[in-house]
Subunit: 558 residues, 2 copies
């Protein structure tokens, strides 16, 4: 493989991008960019996988398991190898020495080759992501394809940069006055910690999985991929590509293996506390994330958990732009993004806008109308909403209507291609955010828990200042992946920034165009901060990679 | 203050040094380098402190406490403020906003000014370190002065480099085909996590304390310094200097405060779980280190705990050099360094040397003779050994003689200047390291526990290969700060390196001159690896600083 010629320029560009944080991506967003036959080929490849046994030729296979059902209805009917952990884990460690010796650059370039082959199959991955996450095709294509690959590449770039901060060798000569200097020859080797476990999620198997997977692999660790049982295929495909590339590059393919689980097995809990597992990446519920942090003490644990995302609505000079921007944010993938706004904090006495003063009721009604308008056409609604990923989301949506006055009811939408898909528009519920309801009381209003799915709360706060206090409490106690705010006041803007700086929350201000609070761009935006309860790590920064390896020094008298 | 003119060049040199890892230090090692009157002035300053109240003018003082007794005999008689934590912690947070706004460069330069003022008072600090740690004067001077300052500066350099990897602002413009590009203005601010707690140790209050203290301060966090009750003075002086500099530079002096405890109070346990404490640096016993890691879940916890340091003796082409190098390593500061070798693994059938083959008994006898020779002169012995830091060390030393055949008994040495000092030469005890005694059995031979102090075990192993297996088990299960090895075989050398790379241990090979396994140089050597049970962090690398702050992004439509 011509790894250096092919991929070193891309690595250099990625290194430059994470330094400047300007826009950059080597992975095209448009489906047409992948060649004329790519759409047909990708769909055909996906259809071939259905109803088959997904063999990975990995050691320690103890039967077969599967059972994915697309949120769009069809059963995928794919069987994956179930691991005999006692065989698989030692086999995964066997190739670590050679992978360590390869050094940071070769590891990075091998990772880039894996990403590049995944990129070439983006159409196939898009169908796999669509039929496991319930994302609409275009979103599955972009978020599950180029955006996920970007995040993987970003992690590789950070890993490479971090590992090469220390030189491979150094000559050290310490003057001793009139005597000869003390002289040592020192070598520095980056050594992985051990097997890294990726616990995948249902909604964004590749986007949330690639950063940890590639960060660990690039820093010298074998990676065991434990997908969500409802979203195995995108990561199984990833494992297959990684194994192919590793073997072709002369490394042990068992450096990347799959651990698919039997229904109800809960294999993540078993794997997470195995002594061989030294790193864990997890996206999912707060409950299991907390369990991992408390129990997997032998491992470095990186978690993205639940959060209560908040938008502060204080004032705007582009009321229409604000409404349409918010409507899109609430609707995209039926609110099933960890970054979707949940609480819209709106002053009880209304806000000032370029369209005149608007009362709380007016603002809520206008947001509702904006969402209604955006999703009025069923074809467009289907393309934006996708399907509900699982019955829990639907149950939460149904229950949400009982929490308060419904400003916008959820609407059932039919999908002509997939009649079994559960497609729903978001519900907007009015709630009272009076200070007395959340301050100094043990009672927790509904809006202080994450209600994952197409549910938003229009929370009436006593004032913007009170809203900022509620924001602070929300971030500090519940965590948040995103904060949005609309204000025309420099003073209020500063106050919102201060809350976000104090409590470590990522802030988007006055978005009224084609960028949405729930989207982040690799190489430029941080996803999460790692500094509040929603996540203990950010994608991607030095801290995300620096503790996945250690530098071992050997010094010899020169 | 002319911070930039004075300190930016030093910061740049430090940044270059951690990149090249060549020898560098701005802090002279020789006492004469500090000016003619420095020795007298330093001693006088120290004497003035004795028997006085050490006022820091910090808020929330709830009485006074003290009681340090020099390991050399005299009571120091100094009283320190005892904190009212409920008052002190909120006061420490008050200055965080301005400290954050100052930015990484100003914070780094303020830290350099603090270090520079400490450096100017190195003689005074040397007496403070000597009379709390029991180190001999020259060691207290060097390790407690320039070497500690180097480690502090190194942490500042890492912190600065880490924080400036992301620019303060970026313009992001994403092409949209024929439409206008999406444009955002992004700002990135490094924000400290909260109050950082430094839990100091008895033996190296400044050397082990400065890295965490300066890493946290430079990354925007207030630092609460909780010294070991027997070694308050060096850190109290440090806190005083830091407060002076902060105030002069226009920042809140309460960004650095002292928490001295009452006898038996165990205030660290109370402080460690306070919600305001977000970072903890700790050096000390494994028991309390493990407790911190398990219980201080709200904080990032950096620990250096016990380890079982090991030297593998396989063969040498410089037998004399090896003996004298080992003798020095075992003797320095009475073996009370976390890096002092404890277990010397020597093949039962002897080793090959340039002085002919040597049996196990001969090697042990020659090491004993070399230590005996090195410490034969009482004045020289006092200068090397210092005093035992506390009665526990003496108790362990006394008990060690009962563990096996004593190859070199410990000798009591009188100190003419300090008749109450407890000065002892190291004991060397022969133990059987047969594989059957440590493999596959729950029984733990004495050499598999840390016996902190002037105690070394000459462990007879069945072969070098068996010794390497024992080394692997030792590092994996017990942890190690240092591994040393002597071998003339390239194959054996490679095997030792592999163990150290696999288990994350720092290795010194064939040291026979003036560099010792127990000494590391800032800017070049890593202290610990952070990858085995002896410590979860290395001094100093990216991982030591990167999670002490978070990057908060604010993005606005451009």
């Amino acid at each position: 493989m011509q790894l250096t010629e092919t991929h070193r320029p891309t690595l250099d560009q990625a290194l430059e991008a994470i330094r400047t944080r300007a826009y950059w991506s080597p992975h095209p967003e448009h489906p047409k960019a992948y060649g004329e036959s790519a759409p047909t080929d990708g769909l055909a490849a996906f259809e071939t996988l259905r109803g088959s046994r997904f063999d990975l030729d990995q050691p320690g296979t103890d039967g077969w398991t599967g059972g994915e059902i697309s949120p769009y209805g069809p059963e995928l009917g794919i069987e994956y190898p179930h691991p005999d952990v006692d065989v698989l884990l030692p086999a995964m460690r066997a190739g670590m020495g050679a992978w360590r010796e390869a050094g940071p650059e070769t590891r990075a370039l091998v990772c880039l080759e894996i990403l590049s082959r995944i990129s070439a199959r983006t159409h196939e991955f898009a169908h796999a992501v669509m039929h496991t996450s319930g994302q609409a095709f275009m979103m599955a294509f972009q978020a599950g394809g180029p955006h996920a690959q970007d995040r993987g590449l970003e992690a590789v770039a950070y890993a490479y940069a971090e590992q090469t901060r220390t030189p491979e060798a150094a000559d050290w000569s310490k003057p001793q006055g009139k005597r000869d200097p003390l002289q040592l020859r020192k070598t520095f080797t980056t050594a992985g910690r051990g097997i890294s476990l990726l616990i995948g999620c249902n909604t964004f198997p590749t986007w949330n999985g690639y950063p940890g997977m590639f960060a660990s692999l690039a820093t010298g660790n074998p990676v065991l991929v434990k997908p969500h049982p409802r979203a195995v295929l995108p990561l199984a495909l990833t494992v297959r590509v990684a194994r192919e590339v590793l073997a072709e590059a002369g490394f042990d393919p068992n450096l990347v293996c799959l651990a698919a689980e039997r229904p109800g097995e809960g294999i993540a809990k078993t794997l997470a506390v195995r002594p061989e597992i030294k790193i864990i990446d997890y996206t999912g519920s707060t409950g299991f994330g907390d369990w991992l942090e408390e129990n997997a003490r032998q491992a470095q644990v990186y978690t993205e958990k639940a959060g209560v995302n908040t938008v502060v609505v204080d004032s705007t000079d582009n009321y229409k732009g604000m409404l349409s921007n918010l409507a899109f944010s609430l609707s995209l993938y039926s609110g099933q993004m960890c970054t979707t706004p949940q609480n819209l904090l709106i002053p009880r006495d209304g806000i000032t806008t370029d369209a005149g003063p608007k009362s709380y009721d007016e603002v809520v009604a206008d947001i509702a109308a904006s969402v209604g308008g955006l999703l009025g056409d069923d074809a467009r609604a289907n393309a934006l909403l996708g399907a509900l990923v699982n019955p829990d989301v639907k149950a939460r949506l149904d229950a949400a209507a009982g929490l308060g006055e419904v400003a916008l009811p959820s609407r059932k939408i039919g999908n002509p291609d997939f009649p079994d898909a559960v497609v729903r528009t978001p519900v907007v519920v009015k709630l009272d955010g009076a200070r007395k309801l959340w301050e100094g009381t043990d009672a927790e209003p509904a809006y202080l828990s994450e209600c994952f799915g197409p549910v938003s709360f229009a929370v009436a706060v006593d004032s913007t200042a009170d809203g900022l206090d509620l924001l602070r409490r929300t971030v500090r106690d519940k965590g948040t992946m995103t904060v949005g705010a609309y204000t025309t006041s420099a003073e209020t803007e500063r106050a919102i920034e201060d809350v976000c700086l104090d409590e470590s929350a990522q802030l988007s201000l006055n978005l009224t165009g084609g960028v949405y609070v729930n989207q982040t761009a690799a190489f430029s935006d941080f996803h999460g901060s790692g500094g509040n309860p929603a996540a203990n790590a950010a994608l991607c920064d030095g801290a995300f990679v620096s503790n996945r390896f250690r530098v071992v020094e050997v010094r010899r008298q020169a």
